[in-house]
Subunit: 406 residues, 2 copies
């Protein structure tokens, strides 16, 4: 039976010494008999997702884990957010993340327009019906969220946000971030678009009703995170593998979708601390029957890291571990246990600290590491790898690699 | 209180097994209780300044340590030497190192013109007054040394030296090192410049007086080390940090100055074996109050390495160590102890051997290395890094990093 690859990405799992844990990391403190058994049976090391000290985002981190160079393909979050909510974007398109927001007397009073839930379909249709200089597309996402695409030749993505990222201030004028005339053109178009959206939205019956009910009108679109949709050679074409991803958050799904992977939805996978870990593991195991490569992203460690909650992170890690017996029966496959970046409790944000990496599978050269954590893994047989190399290592082990040369 | 970064560069500290030291390295033999304590309290590893086996110069090594790719920005020593003596160079300028030398009957009889000390001001003025095809600038340095800048569009730096690098032979004709017409033009201009400098200098009253006193005339300028002044994105702009450097030698100061760092002069810092290590440490500690990032270069190990003197190298290392208590009180900062290259006693020159690297600071993940030396550090938690990644690692640790992506 052919070997497949399962890449288990525990989002934000890496950490630093935590005072509350007497200088140990959550992974060192957590009781993880199953992950430790993987370390014993596998080969271990450290992984810099992008490069040592470079702090990955979820988007750039997953691009690297899929073997792409984020410095080459990444210009902003917009395109991946767009792909994440299922919009068909094309290389060269410029994509922005957008919020329906509330503008009152020249000031942004609510960046989420009262977390508007109803009526955004009609508002989106009105926006898309606008007469505009170039082809564009606006697609609403969940609640106040949406994505704007400019489809035109000769546009740059180096422009500042319209979104002021806080309330009680006017919205911003987008400015080009370079002297490139392509960026200047995008900035001008985005400013025009913003003005027109205000006109169309302010008069819209949905907003008039909202105001009559004392609710915040969704009368401006605030754009941010401009990016050019990159040309990414699809993973199935690049690797010859059938590829799928399971991920709780749209941004990671967007990266995987743009890489040409099938995105599998799992009932109960919320992207939150309450996510159904067992359901994710079960679906991943099932997917291994059909796919050569499955990437799984589970978010919880990142959330507790961002919140600076050491005990919660320890508990989530213990839950990740306790359900691992579900993966029994995948012994002919190669499984990598790692993260996309560290989210240390003392930092409360992503960091560039390297991640523990354990690979199990039939032909790995076992080392003498006996614990899956940041400090133990460095003494393993993999030494220190880069994220961009991980998929190649797994393809090589599992027989999916191709000789380069003769 | 915010954390800063102190990069302590012990120039040439790395070594190989020395027969005289019964196969141990100077760092292994030296009694270094303070550095060993740093290793105990810190995270350790090996560092390849540029890449494994690549032998760094002081210029290329420091470029890498500041996060620049020397293969991209470095074409020759001239530009950095120019910046080191305080000349304002601009990207695209071609810079050469120059010696005032003595030409007698078509032969270079003294490459240093009797180590001329007086009269070089007048000679420089005469050279700068020369009528020449393009804009140029000659600036004298210490004694016989100087720097020549060609300021013109469309010049290449790929040209051979005028300096024959030995005495008793004629000076060389500069030849283009490629088929690029830009290099050909520079070579022609440099040859013209050399001829004109001979004319102007030979007749000069300063030289006539020297000859009357039986001293060697400074009657030719021998150029070498051609390089294009690169565009280097200034470190403060690139990193958002306020940056300073302390270095005993002009070349390293030149690299730091070109990177936009403030260069701090320390009374008693000579760049020699007699340098005042305590004064350097004290000034560095003081600078940490004002700057986010301070690089310190101390030269002594390199000198004893070049001279092949194992015992002197051991003693200098012990002096570096014994004064380290001066740095007490910097515990909230991150300090890296490493070098810019190895200068092994058996090699008597720079080598590409990796360097020991220890990082101390509040949030480092301690490992179990207990000695700061080439052989012990490899078992540390950092594994093996590149010099170009070091500053990113330190910025990430100290909270000066920025997330790449979202």
């Amino acid at each position: 039976m052919a070997s497949g690859i399962l890449m288990m990405i525990y989002d934000g799992i890496g950490d630093r010494p935590v005072k509350e844990l007497r200088g140990r990391t959550p992974l060192e403190v957590a009781k993880t008999p199953n992950l430790d058994r993987m370390a014993c049976e596998g080969i271990n090391g450290l992984m810099d997702t992008i490069a040592p000290g470079i702090i990955p985002g979820s988007d750039t981190g997953h691009l690297a884990l899929l073997g792409y160079d984020p410095f080459e393909v990444y210009t902003g979050r917009g395109p991946f957010e767009a792909a994440g909510i299922g919009i068909e974007v094309e290389p060269g398109d410029i994509a922005f993340r957008c919020n329906f927001s509330t503008l009152e007397k020249g000031v942004i009073t609510d960046r989420r327009a009262g977390r508007i839930k109803e009526g955004t379909d009609e508002l989106s249709r009105a926006v898309n019906g606008m007469d505009f200089e170039i082809e564009f597309m606006f697609e609403k996402g969940v609640e106040h969220r949406g994505v704007l695409i400019f489809k035109d030749q000769g546009l740059g993505s180096g422009v500042g946000d319209i979104d002021p990222h806080k309330e009680g201030v006017p919205y911003l004028e987008s400015k080009p971030l370079s002297h490139d005339s392509k960026d200047a053109r995008t900035a001008r178009l985005l400013n025009d678009f913003t003005l027109k959206s205000i006109e169309v939205l302010s008069e819209h019956p949905v907003n008039i009703s909202r105001m009559e009910r004392g609710e915040k009108p969704a009368n401006i679109l605030l754009a941010r995170g401009s990016g050019t949709v990159p040309y990414i050679r699809p993973l199935p074409e690049r690797t010859g593998m059938k590829c799928a991803a399971i991920a709780g958050i749209p941004l990671v799904r967007g990266v995987c979708r743009m890489a040409g992977m099938d995105v599998i939805q799992v009932e109960g996978a919320t992207g939150g601390m309450d996510t159904d870990i067992g359901a994710i593991y079960r679906r991943a195991k099932e997917a291994m029957k059909e796919y050569d490569f499955v990437l799984v992203n589970i978010k919880g460690c990142d959330i507790s890291g961002h919140d600076g909650l050491a005990r919660e992170k320890v508990e989530f890690i213990e839950r990740l571990d306790s359900e691992l017996k579900i993966l029994e029966g995948l012994e002919q496959h190669y499984i990598a246990f790692t993260g996309d970046h560290s989210t240390p409790v003392p930092v409360k944000d992503h960091s560039g600290d390297p991640l523990p990496l354990t690979i199990v599978g039939p032909q790995v050269l076992r080392d003498d590491v006996t614990s899956y954590d940041e400090r133990s893994c460095v003494r393993g047989g993999l030494s220190r790898l880069r994220g961009q190399d991980l998929l190649n290592v797994l393809m090589d082990l599992s027989g999916h690699g191709e000789k380069f040369g003769a």
